[in-house]
C-alpha cells in the first residue's frame, strides 16, 4: 500500500474511543474497547460475528449510549445521545442496508433534511443541483446525474449517494459497515478509489469488513475485537493474514465438549449437487448414523438456507437427497418430518417456539400425531409426553401450563429440541443450538447431543462458535457464499484453518491444510 507513505500518527487523533463498556440484558457486548483514528487514516475493525463491531459503531454513531467510557472528536469529549449528535460532531455512518429514499432523486437524497433554502424557506432547487454536481465532480463520479431517481441506480451507485450525503454534511469521520458485502468487483475498485480520495482530504474512515484482502488493500491500521474485548491494534504493514486470523479466533478451547467416540454407521442423509440459488449452490454432503457433522461459516454463507432446503421449507430446485439410501423429494416440513428429519431452527423466538402457547402445547406441536387419535387430542397422552420431556431435558418450568415464552432461553431451547426428539427422528439438524443461552444449559445440550449420537442419531450442526464446532464434530464442513469450500476431520481441524476457510483467504487456507 502506497497510501501509508503519507500516513504518520499525529499527536491528537481525530476520533478517539476510550474504554467503552456496554452490556445488554444477559450479554456483555463490549468490555473496555479503545481505538483511535487520525485525519486521513483508514482504520479497519476486524472480528468474528458477535465480536462487538456493530455495537461499537452504533455507540460511535449515537444509536445508543455506552455504559462506560467516552468518545472524543478532535480531542474533545462529545456526548452522543442521539444519531443527530453524531452528525453534528461530524460522524457519518454508512450501514450495510442503505438508508435511502428510492422514489426521490440523487440530489433530494443527498440533501434530505438540510436542503439549501431560498427566501420564505423554500427549497432552492438550483443551488441543490449545483451543489450535487460539485460533490459529484469532487469525487470524479461521472456516471451519476443529480436528477436520477435513486431506485433506478445500481447498489454501487446508491452507496456512492450515501457517501455524498455524508460529505454534504461535512462529515470528517466516515464509518463504513461491510461496504463491499453486496458489491460487484468493479464497484469495489471504485469504492476504494473514493476511499483513497477521502483519505487525501483528511477524512478518517472506520472500515468494517470480514474480508482480509480488502483490509490489506485499503487500511492503514487494523483493530481486532474478540468477544467484546480489544485484542490488538496493528499497522497493516506490520502484520499478515495468518496473524490476523489467529488474533480473531484465537480462543482457548474449553474441554467442555463431551464428544463421545461412537461407532459410525450407515449414511442417513446423502445430499448430491443440491441447488437453490442464490445461497445453496451444488452442495454435496453425507451424514452417517452416530456422526456429528459441524457446518461452519460466516453469517450469510448459506448454512441456514441449506438446512431449510433439506428440510423442505424452501424446497430444492435441483439435485438429489437420499434418506437412509432412499431417494426423496422433500417439498414441505411436514413431509421432512414424516421421513424422520428434525430441524431445530436458528431463531428460537420466531421459528422454533410458539411463545404464547404453553409448555405442554409446544412439546406436542411437532408430534401431535403421536398423542391424537382420529384427529382428537388425547389430553392425558399429551400431558404425559410433555411431562416426560420436561423430566428428560430438566426444563425448569413452574408447570406444564406455563407460557413457554416466559422461560429462559436455555429452557426454551430444550423445549424446541424436545419437541423434535418426541418424534424419534433419524436425522437432527441443529441450527445454532446454543446461541444466546447460559453456560449451564449449553453444557446440557452438548451432553445431550453426545448421547443422541451414541444412540445412532445422525446430527448436522450449524454453529458460528468455532470452539463448539471443533469440540463437538466428528467432521467439519465449511461454507462460503453458498458452497462447501473445505472439509476437515476432527483431528486435522484447527481454529486457524477453519477461520481461514470461512474468510476465504486462500493462501492461508493452503498453509493450514
Amino acid at each position: 500500500m502506497t497510501a501509508s507513505a503519507h500516513y504518520a500518527p499525529p499527536t491528537t487523533p481525530l476520533l478517539s474511543v476510550r474504554a467503552i463498556e456496554k452490556s445488554f440484558p444477559g450479554v456483555r457486548a463490549l468490555s473496555g474497547v479503545s481505538f483511535d483514528a487520525a485525519r486521513g487514516e483508514v482504520h479497519a475493525l476486524l472480528g468474528e460475528n458477535g465480536a462487538g463491531k456493530s455495537t461499537l459503531i452504533k455507540i460511535v454513531s449515537g444509536v445508543f449510549p455506552p455504559d462506560r467510557g467516552e468518545v472524543l472528536v478532535g480531542g474533545k469529549a462529545v456526548d452522543l445521545a442521539r444519531p443527530d449528535d453524531a452528525r453534528r460532531a461530524g460522524i457519518a455512518t454508512i450501514y450495510q442496508e442503505l438508508l435511502l429514499f428510492p422514489e426521490l432523486t440523487v440530489a433530494e437524497n443527498i440533501f434530505m433534511g438540510h436542503a439549501p433554502r431560498a427566501g420564505l424557506r423554500r427549497i432552492d432547487w438550483r443551488a441543490m443541483r449545483e451543489k450535487t454536481n460539485a460533490l459529484l465532480a469532487s469525487l470524479e463520479i461521472h456516471d451519476l446525474e443529480a436528477e436520477r431517481v435513486v431506485g433506478t441506480l445500481s447498489v454501487g451507485n446508491r452507496q456512492r449517494v450515501e457517501i455524498l450525503r455524508a460529505l454534504s454534511q461535512d462529515a470528517r469521520i466516515l464509518i463504513m459497515d461491510e461496504p463491499t458485502a453486496a458489491l460487484t468487483e468493479y464497484d469495489v475498485t471504485r469504492l476504494f478509489d473514493i476511499v483513497r480520495k477521502l483519505k487525501a482530504r483528511g477524512v478518517a474512515v472506520i472500515y468494517i469488513s470480514h474480508r482480509l484482502d480488502e483490509i490489506f488493500a485499503i487500511a492503514d491500521r487494523v483493530t481486532v475485537l474478540r468477544d467484546g474485548a480489544h485484542v490488538a491494534t496493528k499497522r497493516v504493514a506490520d502484520t499478515d493474514a495468518a496473524e490476523l486470523v489467529q488474533l480473531m479466533v484465537g480462543r482457548r478451547i474449553e474441554s467442555l465438549f463431551p464428544k463421545i467416540t461412537v461407532p459410525i454407521g450407515k449414511p442417513v442423509l446423502e445430499v448430491k449437487d443440491l441447488e437453490r440459488r442464490p445461497l445453496t449452490r451444488s452442495i454435496s454432503l453425507t451424514v452417517r448414523a452416530g456422526e456429528i457433522v459441524g457446518l461452519a461459516g460466516l453469517v450469510g454463507s448459506g448454512r441456514s438456507e441449506l438446512a431449510q432446503t433439506i428440510f423442505g421449507v424452501t424446497p430444492a430446485d435441483g439435485g438429489e437427497i437420499r434418506i437412509a439410501g432412499q431417494k426423496v423429494d422433500i417439498r414441505s416440513p411436514a413431509q421432512a418430518r414424516s421421513l424422520g428429519l428434525a430441524y431445530v431452527p436458528e431463531d428460537r423466538g420466531t421459528q422454533g417456539l410458539v411463545r404464547p402457547m404453553t409448555v405442554r402445547e409446544n412439546f406436542s406441536l411437532a408430534a401431535l400425531g403421536k398423542v391424537a387419535f382420529g384427529g382428537f387430542i388425547d389430553r392425558g397422552a399429551e400431558r404425559k409426553l410433555a411431562g416426560d420431556g420436561v423430566k428428560r431435558f430438566a426444563v425448569k418450568a413452574s408447570s406444564l401450563e406455563q407460557t413457554a415464552g416466559k422461560l429462559s432461553g436455555g429452557n426454551q431451547q430444550k423445549i424446541v429440541l424436545g419437541k423434535w426428539l418426541a418424534n424419534g427422528p433419524k436425522l437432527l439438524i441443529l441450527d445454532e443450538p446454543t446461541r444466546g443461552i447460559d453456560v449451564g444449559a449449553k453444557a446440557e445440550i452438548h451432553r445431550l447431543m453426545g448421547e443422541l449420537a451414541a444412540q445412532g442419531l445422525a446430527i448436522l450442526m450449524i454453529s458460528s462458535e468455532l470452539p463448539e464446532v471443533l469440540g463437538m464434530s466428528d467432521r467439519i464442513l465449511v461454507m462460503r457464499e453458498g458452497r462447501i469450500v473445505a472439509e476437515f476431520s476432527h483431528e486435522e481441524a484447527t481454529q486457524e484453518s477453519i477461520g481461514a476457510a470461512m474468510m476465504g483467504s486462500h493462501e492461508n487456507a493452503e498453509k493450514a491444510a
Binding site: 411436514a334 421432512a336 402445547e361 406436542s364 406441536l365 387430542i377 401450563e401
Partner: protein, 327 residues
C-alpha cells in the same frame, strides 16, 4: 351450552385473563338483560328470547368459522356477499334452471364453498393478505349476485322449505337447532382436535407452525372454504325465513359477524379466542338490538349503542391485558 368445555378452552394460552374477559362479558350481558327486562315486560319472555335466537342464526352460523379465521390472524370480509350470491343462486337455479329445490339448495351450498375456496387458494398460494383478497371478493361476489338477479326477486317457494326458517322443532325455532349443533361441533373441533391446535399455532406464530411441520396452508384453505360454505347455509336459512330472494341479502353481515367474534374476546391479531366467547358476543349484540328496540329506542340509536359497547369492551379487554403483562 353445557356441551361447551369452558374450563379447558379458557385455560388455553392465557388462562385466567381469558376467563376474566368472558366472565366479564357474561356479567355485562346479564346486567343488560335485567335492565332491559325491567324497562319492558315483553323482553324477558321465553317467546321473545327464542325468537331472537331465530334472528341471530344467520349471523351466528357465519361467526363460527369466522372465529377460526380470526384465530389464525386472518379475516373474511366477503361473507355478506357470499350470502347474497348463494341466496340468488338458490332462487335462480330453482326458478330459471328448473332445479328441484333440494338440488338448488345443494348447488347454492356448493357455490358458497367454492367462493370460500377461491379466497383460500389465493390467500395461501399467491400470499395475498386476507384483508385485500376478501375486500376484492366482497365486491366481486356482490356484483355477481346483482348481475345474475337483474334486480328481480324470486318468491313462491314450496311450503316445506319454510320449515327451517319459520317453524319450531320441540318448541325451539328449527334453525336454532342447526346453530346449536354447529356451535357444539365448532367448539369441540377448536378445543379438542389437532386441527384446532393448528389454528391457534398459526395465529400465534405461523413460521414456527410451518417449521413444526403443521399443515398451515391446508388448514387455512379449509377454514376459508368452510366460511364460504356456512355463508351459503346462512343464505338458505335466511331465504326460508323471509320467503323471498333478493340480491341485497346479507349486506353488512361481515360487520355483525366480526363484531360478535371480537366482542367475544377473539384477538384480531390471532392466537386467542374461543367459540364460547363468540356465542356470548352474538347473544349480546342480538339482545341489545332487540331490547333497545322494544324500549322504543330508534334504529340509528341502537347502532350507536352497539358501537359504544364494542369500544368499551375492547378498552376493558386491553386494559386487563396490560395489567396482566405489567405483572
Amino acid at each position: 351450552m353445557s356441551e361447551i368445555p369452558l374450563p379447558h378452552s379458557a385455560k388455553r394460552v392465557v388462562p385466567w385473563w381469558l376467563l376474566r374477559h368472558e366472565t366479564m362479558l357474561a356479567v355485562i350481558l346479564l346486567i343488560a338483560l335485567i335492565v332491559l327486562g325491567g324497562l319492558n315486560n315483553r323482553f324477558l319472555t321465553l317467546d321473545n328470547l327464542l325468537n331472537q335466537g331465530r334472528l341471530t342464526t344467520e349471523v351466528g352460523l357465519i361467526a363460527l368459522p369466522m372465529t377460526f379465521i380470526i384465530i389464525t390472524g386472518g379475516i373474511d370480509l366477503s361473507v355478506g356477499s357470499i350470502v347474497g350470491l348463494c341466496a340468488i343462486l338458490l332462487g335462480y337455479s330453482w326458478k330459471n334452471f328448473g332445479f328441484p329445490l333440494p338440488l338448488a339448495i345443494c348447488f347454492s351450498l356448493l357455490v358458497g364453498a367454492a367462493a370460500g375456496f377461491l379466497n383460500g387458494i389465493v390467500i395461501t398460494r399467491v400470499k395475498v393478505p386476507p384483508l385485500i383478497m376478501t375486500i376484492a371478493t366482497l365486491a366481486l361476489y356482490r356484483g355477481l349476485a346483482e348481475g345474475i338477479s337483474q334486480a328481480r326477486s324470486v318468491r313462491g317457494y314450496p311450503e316445506w322449505f319454510y320449515f327451517i326458517g319459520q317453524e319450531n322443532l320441540f318448541g325451539v325455532p328449527a334453525q336454532l337447532w342447526l346453530l346449536l349443533i354447529a356451535i357444539v361441533v365448532s367448539a369441540i373441533v377448536l378445543d379438542r382436535t389437532t386441527f384446532g391446535r393448528t389454528l391457534y399455532a398459526i395465529g400465534n406464530n405461523e413460521t414456527a407452525a410451518r417449521f413444526s411441520g403443521l399443515p398451515v396452508d391446508r388448514a387455512k384453505l379449509i377454514i376459508y372454504t368452510l366460511s364460504g360454505f356456512m355463508a351459503g347455509l346462512s343464505a338458505c336459512v335466511l331465504v326460508s325465513r323471509v320467503t323471498t330472494t333478493r340480491s341485497d341479502m346479507g349486506i353488512g353481515y361481515e360487520l355483525d359477524v366480526i363484531a360478535a367474534v371480537v366482542l367475544g374476546g377473539t384477538s384480531i391479531f390471532g392466537g386467542v379466542g374461543t367459540i364460547w366467547g363468540t356465542v356470548v358476543g352474538l347473544a349480546m349484540i342480538q339482545l341489545l338490538k332487540n331490547g333497545l328496540a322494544l324500549t322504543g329506542v330508534k334504529g340509528d340509536a341502537t347502532i350507536v349503542v352497539i358501537g359504544t359497547v364494542l369500544i368499551l369492551s375492547t378498552l376493558v379487554a386491553s386494559s386487563l391485558q396490560r395489567r396482566r403483562e405489567g405483572i
